[in-house]
Symmetry: D3
Subunit: 308 residues, 6 copies
Amino acid sequence: MMPGGELLYPSPQHQPATPPQQPHSTIITTATSELLEDETWVWSQIKAEARRDAESEPALASYLYSTILSHSSLERSLSFHLGNKLCSSTLLSTLLYDLFLNSFSTDPDLRSATVADLRAVRARDPACVSYSHCLLNYKGFLACQAHRIAHKLWIESRRPLALALHSRIADVFSVDIHPAAKIGKGILFDHATGVVVGETAVIGNNVSILHHVTLGGTGKSGGDRHPKISDGVLIGAGATILGNIKIGEGAKIGAGSVVLIDVPARTTAVGNPARLVGGKEKPSMHEDVPGESMDHTSFISEWSDYII
Amino acid sequence: MMPGGELLYPSPQHQPATPPQQPHSTIITTATSELLEDETWVWSQIKAEARRDAESEPALASYLYSTILSHSSLERSLSFHLGNKLCSSTLLSTLLYDLFLNSFSTDPDLRSATVADLRAVRARDPACVSYSHCLLNYKGFLACQAHRIAHKLWIESRRPLALALHSRIADVFSVDIHPAAKIGKGILFDHATGVVVGETAVIGNNVSILHHVTLGGTGKSGGDRHPKISDGVLIGAGATILGNIKIGEGAKIGAGSVVLIDVPARTTAVGNPARLVGGKEKPSMHEDVPGESMDHTSFISEWSDYII
Amino acid sequence: MMPGGELLYPSPQHQPATPPQQPHSTIITTATSELLEDETWVWSQIKAEARRDAESEPALASYLYSTILSHSSLERSLSFHLGNKLCSSTLLSTLLYDLFLNSFSTDPDLRSATVADLRAVRARDPACVSYSHCLLNYKGFLACQAHRIAHKLWIESRRPLALALHSRIADVFSVDIHPAAKIGKGILFDHATGVVVGETAVIGNNVSILHHVTLGGTGKSGGDRHPKISDGVLIGAGATILGNIKIGEGAKIGAGSVVLIDVPARTTAVGNPARLVGGKEKPSMHEDVPGESMDHTSFISEWSDYII
Amino acid sequence: MMPGGELLYPSPQHQPATPPQQPHSTIITTATSELLEDETWVWSQIKAEARRDAESEPALASYLYSTILSHSSLERSLSFHLGNKLCSSTLLSTLLYDLFLNSFSTDPDLRSATVADLRAVRARDPACVSYSHCLLNYKGFLACQAHRIAHKLWIESRRPLALALHSRIADVFSVDIHPAAKIGKGILFDHATGVVVGETAVIGNNVSILHHVTLGGTGKSGGDRHPKISDGVLIGAGATILGNIKIGEGAKIGAGSVVLIDVPARTTAVGNPARLVGGKEKPSMHEDVPGESMDHTSFISEWSDYII
Amino acid sequence: MMPGGELLYPSPQHQPATPPQQPHSTIITTATSELLEDETWVWSQIKAEARRDAESEPALASYLYSTILSHSSLERSLSFHLGNKLCSSTLLSTLLYDLFLNSFSTDPDLRSATVADLRAVRARDPACVSYSHCLLNYKGFLACQAHRIAHKLWIESRRPLALALHSRIADVFSVDIHPAAKIGKGILFDHATGVVVGETAVIGNNVSILHHVTLGGTGKSGGDRHPKISDGVLIGAGATILGNIKIGEGAKIGAGSVVLIDVPARTTAVGNPARLVGGKEKPSMHEDVPGESMDHTSFISEWSDYII
Amino acid sequence: MMPGGELLYPSPQHQPATPPQQPHSTIITTATSELLEDETWVWSQIKAEARRDAESEPALASYLYSTILSHSSLERSLSFHLGNKLCSSTLLSTLLYDLFLNSFSTDPDLRSATVADLRAVRARDPACVSYSHCLLNYKGFLACQAHRIAHKLWIESRRPLALALHSRIADVFSVDIHPAAKIGKGILFDHATGVVVGETAVIGNNVSILHHVTLGGTGKSGGDRHPKISDGVLIGAGATILGNIKIGEGAKIGAGSVVLIDVPARTTAVGNPARLVGGKEKPSMHEDVPGESMDHTSFISEWSDYII
């Protein structure tokens, strides 16, 4: 769990005189009862949105009823939608629906992660117009929810099923997250096509990852060989991060960067190979949590000194 | 047809005494009757190609009849093909077919854009052996045509349907173009996998964009935040262009570049971060229209001075 | 065919006094009878793995029986699996199954390539837990096998069918290999999403290629315009290699590199634009075959001198 | 067209003193403008019913929207529903939808027959709770509408397509009506399973036919060889009527009868072989129109004299 | 519930001196706990049969795992199988699966009826080789189980959904049972094609009904208008029973009969129109329960006196 | 095998002075080489018909290419067509196609039976306009060919698979033939809906059977309990034949008859219960082979003496 923001990002040089009054991520710190309340609230929002859309667009009403409005809970709606998206002629939708519904029903952590992700997408992506938009249409969101089921199967030692599900997610969404990879809550996989996350990778809470991002390994030997992404990190489009390295809390990785070494907290790495903005010895540090603020390009002014 | 480059892109050094009498993209300005003629001609070519292929390859004849030869017009063939490609168990092919056919039938601009794109692919991609090859098999072409329908829905305020269609295009073709993005005519999305085009992006006419190209935003605030790509631009594979910046007419973006600032007309930007070939102050300028000439690598000799 | 290792990688400076006792790639040098034996052995492994998994995971047993355990040979299993993965409403699974089975049955080279690829994936990817895992779930493996059929159709002048198959592979797996491209044996396409291989590209034996790799052309004129990848090469994630250039035997291309000129054998090229590690004049050379050793990052120590 | 009842069923012995004030079948005698009005009225009823049902039963709402509520007219709804019911892996729903919609749109007779059938089912079958119930669920109704399209194709000399459609109707609904058979309006095929109607059969207006009824031929020579069923006839379940014989207006055929000879108007034939109730010489005659009154069993009292 | 045999069939003339030691239908009289035990036992039999068949026939193993062996209970297996059989492009399998599973899970009566039917088919049909054979392949059995769900929906006033399900059963199995019809337990619908059971029909326990049997109404007025079939009745192939008449306990209806009046208990009615064997005044009575003994033709010797 | 005509129908009373010069069924008596020739000829006819139809009806061309014109032999075409007709979500088309093709390829008897049936339908049914019409559209023909595969599986002791196939045939075509039933060659199942043929039934050569015909058993004991239908028999629509009785060579069973006792050769049985035309003692005998002549109703004149 991600504690309050002031503990998360202790930035010695820029330590604010008083701790921030509002923690960065209230979702994650809320208690279970609040989460249930949250789940109910989000589901009621989704239903209301879908009802409004069904009324205004009869051509879509059938779709909205089958995916959302005919279901009694978010977990049923999501299980149905994922089952239909991920099924194939040899892995039937009913089997997947059953598997997903059973997982969501018995594991409140899965459900709270779903809610946190919905909130993250809605809050961070200005192109996301509603919760139902995210639930139905965001392949990164859907791939992440399906991955969580695959991960649950993996840690229950049901590996062949986890890998079969992994394969379907990679085929259908072009998102390739190894079922063993650990992923926190409040995640935004924006656009998501081409994301690759390796077996021993770890992704913290409130992380935002753009499309074509690779969290890759370094060779053919097994063991712990993939990146560890701390809370609040933002990784730009097309960034490639390789090896068992650590991307510190609240760090930012520029689009297209190739990162092969650790990146300290609250710093920005850009370029191929990636360098720290401000220099290796005394890198510039930022106050915000890029994984939430989604500020991709504030480093440009600094960086542009030595470009073009 | 687009005339020679020197008329199209008046580059300061070769500035003609009088401004060009003919706008950049004659395709767009041709009268309706010519477009209809063009449409008829392309469709007759496609039918002839399909007939020849069906005769030489019985195993494919059923496919060619169902997708092309049984249809009475290009718009019917394309609506059928897109409907079958983009349908799902919850968005039936008949619904999509109806939607597409209705859009193409009532909007001649959509049809002329389709014809211009078919011509662009055929002219610019040496691997494209026929118009029917493009119509049936080019995911970039198909994604672009479907996007145009989604865009039409978007500007008609049928946003939930536009977004549902957007989601299907992203799932099926791994091409993620926001329905609000404006795209001109004569477009080649070559290979296309992984292309991401954001909400406020604008793409001009006669542009060629390779796979994995991102026209992305800069953060979580809304508003105008994506690149503007002028006419005749060529964007190499894997290039990432971020923010509300302008890529000038006839500019060229090298493969793998990360572009964060404006690029002047007829110049080439390469690298991560991208620099102008020839230097910031007096960049080299080219005569041709890269979006049509598809010259990806002519800058190498210049660039290679400081590589390897 | 790839001869013994000592012939393959003649590295003048590091020439070993005695030829290596163990050739790099025993798979490729075995005779036909051995290959048949190999095929039988691999198939019996796959069956045993599937049987074990079916017993431990009843929810997956149906899938394992339909894809593997009900079949009498590897070629039937693979033809069935590919047929079901690649079919569409207009290209029926029975047609594809028939086409694939006929090709595999009559062409032992196709079968030996499949076996070599299975061994390559199993040996090089630590995340690959079994041969059946690769056969069922690796989109790169499946795309490559389907490409070999498309290539066979291409050289038999059945081009419309080859291109239709190419299109399905690109849609379903997001792997876009032109049917004319020549690919050797013992290939690992790891993760595979977004791989693009152009019409005149050639890939040797025992090559490993990560996701988002482009072997692209240089413009709109036809002819020989794509890279030639020699035996034993390793190409990191997101690398873009453009033009009719040669990547020498056992060379290594760093992740995210943009390569526009030849790379000598057993050297490493990194960066955008790519430079040789150790410098242009006297690049560092490695002993191993990166395509098999999968050592992505050993150059970092050297490289990191001038980064960050 | 079926004129007023008094002309239709001149029953000498029971001639009423005054002509009936209300004709039997107002639907058939209305003019075209009234039919259009009728169509509009029925469609508005169907929409209202579907809306009410969608509200009360969310699980069915998606179905009701896709089949009825998303459509702008009865002909679109019916074309969509039939296309989805009758399609197969080799006859795609979009092709059938297109064919059906085109037929209904261009042929008002087809549409008025549909409306007359809807009214007939609603009026005569006490188990029919609404028009939408008939439209969606009555296989006899659906088979009859699809037959009318097949018949239209037949008389346009598009016989292979007519026969392919015939085959799908026979497979899907177990209703086997030869496309050449002529069928009037206001028809109720109740339950419908197993109905067989031969090539040269003719069925008048306002006829009701129960399941397992055969209107069969007499051998292998071609020509006019099937029964002619006049207006207002009722044919009970399992009746077999063979040969080019005439069943007179308003006649009634008992369930399970085997009829090999003509049956006079307004008489009842029962048994195997069928005999006229009341005797061959002076059969009992009835006043009502059995095809509309649906009185199956009023003859029992008379008949039962010689049974059991 | 059907009490002991001696009470069920009080046949004054043939009253046995001592009551039968073994009741006719032990299934129905067992208590709830025994039924649960029964359910467990039948399910374990089905699993064992399927396991044996999967081992002996690899081509069928996938089917057997998906339909039976991957499920944890009879109700899950049956819900899955029915969902896949009855789904359509507009009524998805996941929706039906959910509906069926929910019904079976919450209603033990549905489950005990299923078990009683399985036992009935296995005991009475010599062509039924195993319980799994019945569960998977008997369309009469499957239609009956699906009808019970439709009936449950009907009495819960979810009529549109009940009728939609009714329609699917009629399309898929050619078995047309109105959702309002009441059906007991221990039912065998043998072959089943063409069975029609009307809205107000009632079928008791331990009844056997062959194919093409009609329990039909008598006209277009509503109300109670269909036959009432008592316990233990056997109805031969193609029999048509019309109107609100009573077929007494243990009665037998000959194949092809047309029955329009009541049939007393333990008597046999044959012919068109049906007569009682032995004559109206003093019909022959039988000792056995034809619905269980399945003796179709013992009356022939008697009957044949007046035939041929 | 059916020997020459003169031996087949030894009718003592009507023995012709000289044996018939032309045997009734030349198909069956031809040698194997002739059958192969026959197969080739029929297949070439089918291809020519399909080619003609594809040209005249573009909307059907895709269907004709996929089912007929893309195949290299009748057995491939038929296997493809049956595989697509009989597949389900749990029995995939590729599995069935493989099974069917393997059976037809290795068993010339199956193929010669198919050809004989095609000829029979074409010769006897005036509504059959071509061989391809029969191959594609006749559910009786298709059910019979699929039954032959099921029967082959049955006698090879692959009973679960035989029964699964039986179930699919019964669902899809409403034709229920037990896999153990033996069926000769040159069979016409006309219309076919509702046909039921029991486990121990035997059907000879050149038999014609109309729809709704039952060859049923007599109770719940196993053993030989179904009818034996000799060569050349014609069974009218809706006839029910029960028990281990013999229908003699060339006999005719009237529509709707219920037959419970043996019927001598070349006689006609009609009615419920069935009586011999001409009387039990000296029944009328006919010269022709009704199974081929298809004369359903010639007995009417005789019969009508005592009807109506």
